[in-house]
Symmetry: C2
Amino acid sequence: MKAIPFTKVSINDRFWSPRLKTNSERTIPHELEQCRITGRISNFAKAAGLIDGNFEGIFFNDSDVHKLVEAASYTLHTHPNPDWEEDLDEVIDTIAKSQQQDGYLNSYFTLVEPEKKWQNLGMMHELYCAGHLFEAGVAHYQATGKEKLLDVACRFADLIDNTFGPGKRDGLPGHQGIELALVKLARTTGEDRYMSLSDYFVKTRGQAPHVFEKELENPDLPGGLGAYKHHYTRDDKYEGTYSQAHLPLVEQTECVGHAVRGMYLYAGAADIANETGDSEIMNALQTLWQNMEKRFYITGGVGPSGHNEGFTQDYELPNFSAYAETCASIGLIFWAHRMFLLKGESGYMDVLETALYNGALSGVSLDGTGFFYQNPLASRGGRERSPWFGCACCPPNIARLLGSLGEYIYAQSNDDIWVNLYVGGSVSTTLSSDVSLKLSQETEYPWSGEVKITVNPEKSTSFELNLRIPGWCKNHSIGINGKQYENSVSSNGYLSINRQWNPGDIVELKLDMPVDRVYAHPNVRDNLGRSALQRGPLLYCFEDIDNTEGAFETLSLIGDAHFDIEYNPEFLNGVTLLKGAGSIYDVSEWENQLYITKPSQKKIDITAIPYYAWSNRGSGQMAVWVL
Amino acid sequence: MKAIPFTKVSINDRFWSPRLKTNSERTIPHELEQCRITGRISNFAKAAGLIDGNFEGIFFNDSDVHKLVEAASYTLHTHPNPDWEEDLDEVIDTIAKSQQQDGYLNSYFTLVEPEKKWQNLGMMHELYCAGHLFEAGVAHYQATGKEKLLDVACRFADLIDNTFGPGKRDGLPGHQGIELALVKLARTTGEDRYMSLSDYFVKTRGQAPHVFEKELENPDLPGGLGAYKHHYTRDDKYEGTYSQAHLPLVEQTECVGHAVRGMYLYAGAADIANETGDSEIMNALQTLWQNMEKRFYITGGVGPSGHNEGFTQDYELPNFSAYAETCASIGLIFWAHRMFLLKGESGYMDVLETALYNGALSGVSLDGTGFFYQNPLASRGGRERSPWFGCACCPPNIARLLGSLGEYIYAQSNDDIWVNLYVGGSVSTTLSSDVSLKLSQETEYPWSGEVKITVNPEKSTSFELNLRIPGWCKNHSIGINGKQYENSVSSNGYLSINRQWNPGDIVELKLDMPVDRVYAHPNVRDNLGRSALQRGPLLYCFEDIDNTEGAFETLSLIGDAHFDIEYNPEFLNGVTLLKGAGSIYDVSEWENQLYITKPSQKKIDITAIPYYAWSNRGSGQMAVWVL
């Protein structure tokens, strides 16, 4: 099964189109400007010898620019914007000029430690930055047909391939990402060497002798030993869990370490499993996925701890201190997408949809210029999105996710068409019989569960249309050309319609979308006695600005209280609010006492907003899980 | 106002007498044996030159023996036990023989660092150990009239008084305790110098230049610098909060640092305020008390953190990790008692009663030979009382508290008699007119709120009888000689009966004792959405052994569910159980899912036991605050 690429998809959706427009008109120019003023772009110009000056910022800052080029490239397809198209070309030009004679491209090492390339793979992110360059090159080529950046990527990939691998040097990325990037590069160019190199990186990771441990014998390590602190245990022994290099992937059973690195590795490994059919990797990934399912937030956030930016243990999911990095949710989307492509099961798309609408989308403000690095599930106030970060991985990551949204909506295997996300717009593809097919969706999703799909094969033809029935949906119905269609959902979570389709056939899907109260597993200590509101794919939360009576932290739902849904087109760029009865205590009941016997719980009207929209009206208190 | 001393009180009480009997028959011999086998007693013999050998154990181990001697002395009065009386005399003898020519008495310094006395007051506990010796000397004298240990105490106190103070050396105890001990010694001997020395220790604490900071200039500090770690801030600056030496007491407004040290200091300062009428100290203590009231557990435990064995910040009262050292609850009892004697307000006795029946009493097992150092308010299992500790402050501390229980029941100021605790037994005292008075109580307290008090002046006489109406009691009634007595509780929380009393007058007090659900201030994060059960002075808790259906951590009380009380004389040495309806979830509802929408909450019968009795039937899960 293959995703139908973003180039074949157009989006015309009440929920997403405004976000993609904002991404193009606000986010991308804002991030280009940030990359400019923080020296990220001029680092390339300096490395190219175009201007004089020292390297500025963090050693992996190149990757932010690469990701932004990738984001802008996708966006050229969906929402081109003349304001920055020339800038993009200029940035690409500068990156290209910074490439060294031998193909090497990394402004930090070129400018700062040119003699120390490839000596500290464990921490200095050369291969990680390379991966982002490859993704940018592929995206720019896909979106525009221009080969300039793709060529740059290939020249660098060739150098890396000539340097590392069996019979050459041992080498691995300390921060993963290059694995999935090489697969993209291989698929785009048809060059098998890139696929083999990715396969090498996936399979040799965690094997003894440890590449990263061996590097430490170098007394003159670029970046210095301090950068390694996360790779050590408390008793100062090298230990690879931080970057998932403690064991070969096929022996790993738990999601550990830095969450983004983990997600990128698992996603790349899933690509390799998809290409090679390697069942050991496939099984390992399924085991890891099952473990992830004990370690993810209801937002689709992963990696609860700021200490390692990553995983801790099963069920340890604190709300206030949740790290849940935006990049980790995006990485989870990458992994989930590839697991779906491997297995064809809707459960993976459920997680993808959760992360997309909640934990990832919360990473960017409604106006497109503020970003969360961390996405907590509760706040005592003071949590605001920032315009940028010193370590700025998240802003361009959310921009490229939004730019590439089209990639996640449809998939195809032979003549089976899979509709995974309900997003207004259309897709064009070709069936094996060479019959071209256009599908279009009209929907108010996620505010409504009604989806109208128009099926337009160029001529009457037979194929299977698989509609994803989301895990949150308990009841649905379907009509074809106005007639009720008897159906049952198959074990993979899809409703399959195998018939002779005629141009203009109309499928009407109705997904029941009640307000649900969700309860976390009792092992999640922070959520004991609490529940959260969810409707469709959207998680809701409460902000104190909407719920001002009494002590916000005592806000409680009432037994079986009904929640009304209320769409407000003016509010938070248009959201469906949940309104119902709750209760709350007043701190004044306690006066100066710590313990009292009969506080009166006041019944109040309470309002919940979608989680992704929180902290867009000041930085007050917020709670997902309420009493 | 003065406490009527334990020597004037006899206890004959269904609740307490068996505990005091166990204290005498099990706890004291057990602890004597522990002191013996851990070398604590032989350290004195070695210091005395009676036997050869090195000092064993921790440098402040003397204090454990002193406290045990104090405990045994009280017990000689209430429950003498021929099994250990001779042992006690022998221990006292050995202690006495270890006293040096000049009065110095500390087996660690005598044996290990004889040249380094008084050089590390900040950490090496010489003055702390001295204080416990003084308390032992006073108690033994009060209980037996024997002056041997009192004389030893005085000789040492004289040495300390000749060494430290105005015009002599600057000196302060790193671990407080000697302040209240010197007051006891002064009151017992009539020697004002001891009172002045206590006053000096209280008032110079926290003044610049810092005694403890100056000590650090010594490169050859006994105990070494490591012992000072708690006295430093993260940036390695000396800072006195750990031992409440950061500011003069009169400028302190928050309970900080090591909780036991704080309690002992505040108790000693209250003694000094009582003796001197110093209003600045009195005001400071009231401010500190008000702050303590934002930092105490519902058990009467203080000091939530194991890191500093002490205070953190207002409302930070985690349940599972609660440190709440047994000694700190005992120290709170000391402080509360003295605050009552200063102010005559029942609120202080409310806190004393809470700590006594809950946070302190939980420190010893029902069989008298197991001890908690920490008293958490929730457990995931595995928390068991130990027979002893390397740092064994708590076991003899609880033994001396129980031994001296009589001291806390009654107080007298001129002809006003105060009944503070409802404990069966009697008290003898003399009124200012030289009329002798005997009061006796009959009660099933704390299982019942009915108390019959027989008033027996030697002849008809007028005085005021003040009965404490506990803070937990919302309704009460009172009868005198069978007739309803109209009364109102005065603002200090006492019901005052001012009348002509005749021999054999009978006062019948009925305190309504319903089962109450208590709610913590919403700022106590761990208790949000939770409540605790309390009846009379007793806090209740749930143990999984009594509540086995479903996932214990999801145990919930139901709205206004009624709880039946059920006295069971066979169970846990006789307790009143609370039985009512609750609800619980089954983990199997979640199968392999982290988040589900409709778990079914099972209605079940639930049983609560008094908190003090937990962990006497294995070490399962426990919760005070339930959903």
